[in-house]
Structure formats: C-alpha cells, structure tokens
Amino acid sequence: MSTGWHRKDLLSLRELSVGELNQVLATAKVFKEILGRPIKKVPSLQGRTVVNLFVEPSTRTRISFELAAIRLSADVVSLDKDSSSLRKGETLFDTAKNLEALQAGIIVIRHRSAGAAHFLSTRLKASVINAGDGAHEHPTQGLLDTFTIVERLGKLEGVRVLIVGDIIHSRVARSNLWALTKLGAKVTLVGPPTLLPREFEDLGVKVSYNLDEELEQADVINLLRIQHERMVQARLPSVGEYAGLFGLNLDRFQRCKSGVLLMHPGPVHRGVEIASELADGPQSVILDQVTNGLAVRMAVLYLVSGGRGLGDS
C-alpha cells in the first residue's frame, strides 16, 4: 500500500490529513519494533546529514532527535544558541543558509518564536522539522502522545482526553489538539481562565475551569508543565494554589476510571502538576512517551527524507 507523503517538511499537525497522521503512526510502530531488537539501527538515512538547531533550550527533544537520526544511520550535528553565531547576532536565516551550504539535508529547529520553522521551510531546499516554535506547535510531541494513547488503548475514536494546565503557552496542547480531534478523540481542555482562553472552543473542543468535574469521564489525562519561562505577566497567584486546584493528587486519582492513562510531556514538577506516587505509578505512561518519541521522530525523519538514502542532494 502506498499513500501520499510528499511533504518536504513537518511544520505542524494542523496541516496534516488523517491519512498522513496515520502514515506517521504506522511507520513509527515499525520503528518501535526495530528499537526492541539487538541491532537498533537501519541504514535508511545513510549519507544524509541532520542538523539540530536548538535556539531554545531542550534536553529531551534534542537527545531524542539526535538518537533518532543516529538510529537511521544519518550523520548528526547539534547546535544551540550559546555555541553558535546566533550569539554574535547572526540572523536565524543566515545561520540556516550556512547550514544548508554545508550540505545539511534536514534541519530540526526549536525556536522561541512561532513560525520560525515555517520561515525557514519556505526559504531552504533542506527539509525542516519543527521541534517546537514558541506557543504555536510541537508536532512530534503531539504525534508521540497520540501514538502512546493508541498503543495503550488500541484506538482514538471516542477516547476522552483531558489536557490540563497552562494551555495558552502550550504548543504541546495545540499539537495534541489537532492530532486528537482529527483522529476522533473527544478533547477537553482544563485550566484556570488566565491560562485557558475561551477561544479554544472555536476549535471544537470543550473548555472547563474545574478539573474535579471532568475527572470521572476521562480515559486519558495529559498534565502539562507550568511554563515559568513563558509567564510574561503573573497569571497564577501561586504555584501552590495551582497545585491545589489543577494538580493531580491521590484524592483526585481515586475518582478516575481504573484504567486511566496519566501523561506528562516533561519535565515534571512533582507535587505540582502530578503527585510523585502517580508519576511513578502503574497508570503513568510518562516514560513510554519518551520511548515512543524516539520511534515517532525516526518515522518523521524517514518520511521527510523521502525514505531514501542516496546522500544529500
């Protein structure tokens, strides 16, 4: 069976069709099997160069992309803001053009500004993968969360997913929203009004300001990180008050369905978004998310490269 993945880039999940989403998930499933073998490597991207351009700090996503590229036999270089000429005032475009001049075939970019990946994709011949742009999207996170739910529950159609927390600053929430709703899940966003604008209802999801009212219905609870670095003005009275109203503690967990999946994109603030016992408990799939992230990123690198390994052209 062949379906049409013809995209040079992966910029957002908003623009992907149901067929394209399913193609990434199906490809990731095969890569996950390969990751379980003694030899966890395939030659798909032999001779190609992947550059991770992380202008905003990240450990998990960057290491995940690096390992994914290595598992596909690509050559990988990673750059962050402090070790590049961006520090000296070079523009993002010039940095990227230089990387392309060095024959980089795929550029993975994380940037604090929404639209940074799109900006590069329209100006470069290289493939561009968005690894998080401001509060816009984090497509591979949305894909790995979706993959994890399907892996555990066997489906998405009709699955009730709560996304809890700092929605307004969250590219993770946005990417999840697009993938989940397209694949038939029922999404409810929960958070304090200062972090959850009503406008989200326009995207066809439910908006709630009371976690306790939503708990019992949920098949999946995805707890987002409180993003101190993006809090331009004080939107929360205190972290303690947030934890009291929107943190998943043991009392709240008692009222959840017995098979509920607990997710968190990391880094976890234990005792704030989720109680330590729950983060380490049997319903937590937080570490599955990390493992699945590797498989999903291999799938994305493979697909944008056209599934070919003839070197950079």
């Binding site: 199906a26 095969v30 395939v42 798909s44 493979y302 070919r308 390994g309």
Partner: protein
C-alpha cells in the same frame, strides 16, 4: 513483447519443484523460509506447505521480511511499512530468502542486510519464482522456478492467488 508467460498450473508446478529441491538439499529440514514482502511471503508459505507434503511431519518455520528501510533506490511513494515478522531465531540456521522476481539483485542485497540485522544465519540461500536476468550485483539464486529472458525495460508481473486472486506470470509491454 507481451503476454502470459506462466499460467497458474506452471506456477504451482514450479513451486512444487523448488520444494523438492529444498528437500533434496536439506533432507533433515533444518532450514527456515523468509519471504520478502510483498509476494515473497505467500510464496514462502506455499513452499513450506509443499515441503510438508514431501517430508511428512516436518514443518519449516516461515517469516516475512520488510526491506523498506534498507532500500537504496528513490521511492516516489513511500509505502506504509508492515514490519518484519520473524518469530524464530535465525542464528546458526540455514535461511532461504524467497522472492517472486530476481532482477538487478538490489532487493536481495537489501534483504540480506535486513536479515543480518535480525540475527546471524549460518547460511543464506535464495529461492525465486522467476529469474529475469540483468543483474547489477554479484548475486545468484540457489533455486529458480523459471528463467525468463527479458528486455531491460520490460515489466514482469507475478500474480499469486493470495494477493491477486489467481496465479500467473506475464510480461507487460516495455516502458516507453
């Protein structure tokens, strides 16, 4: 050039003959069959079935190999990979790779790479239904259903009941 080259009966006879050759060379049945997706897989299953008729009581393990990630050619349409399914240990076994058509040999090279990443077989052999020539790599089959001289541009179309509803081999018109 065009038209039917092998009818259903000819295909079935060829499979039966290959199964006999396998049993002659491996009388104790210490071999495993691994079909290369897509049409190598039903071929491998049929060879195992024929083998069991020739050597009653002997069941050859059958696996399937997905070589999507090992190809060295450009893919216009990227297939949705199915994944390999080899539920037995290939280590120290004689593994017979099975495919429908042998042409340049590039598929077989990819399949050998994919197989060696799963484990280290003692011996790898190759069984094909049709050898159409024009090799680009130093690869030769150990079991051949039929040799079919072709022009380089011609298309050889193998049909198998499991995939296509009927058995047969046809040569389609040369690509323009």
């Amino acid at each position: 050039m065009g038209g039917q080259f092998m009818d259903g009966e000819a295909v079935r006879r060829a499979i039966r003959r290959i199964a006999h050759e396998i049993s002659e060379r491996h009388p104790k049945g210490e071999v495993a069959l691994i079909g290369i997706q897509t049409r190598g897989v039903p071929l491998a299953q049929r060879l195992a079935k024929e083998f069991a008729l020739i050597e009653p009581g002997q069941t050859l393990p059958v696996g399937s190999l997905d070589i999507s990630f090992y190809r060295d050619d450009l893919a216009k349409n990227i297939p949705v990979p199915k994944g390999s399914e080899v539920l037995f240990d290939v280590k120290d076994k004689t593994v017979i790779l099975v495919d429908d058509v042998l042409y340049t040999g590039r598929t077989i090279r990819a399949a050998m790479d994919a197989l060696c990443d799963i484990g280290r077989p003692k011996v790898i052999q190759l069984a094909v239904l049709v050898d159409r020539g024009h090799r680009e790599l130093p690869i030769r089959p150990d079991y051949v259903g039929k040799n079919l001289p072709t022009a380089p541009g011609a298309k050889v179309k193998v049909k198998l009941t499991e995939q296509d509803g009927e058995d047969g081999v046809a040569i389609e018109k040369e690509a323009a």
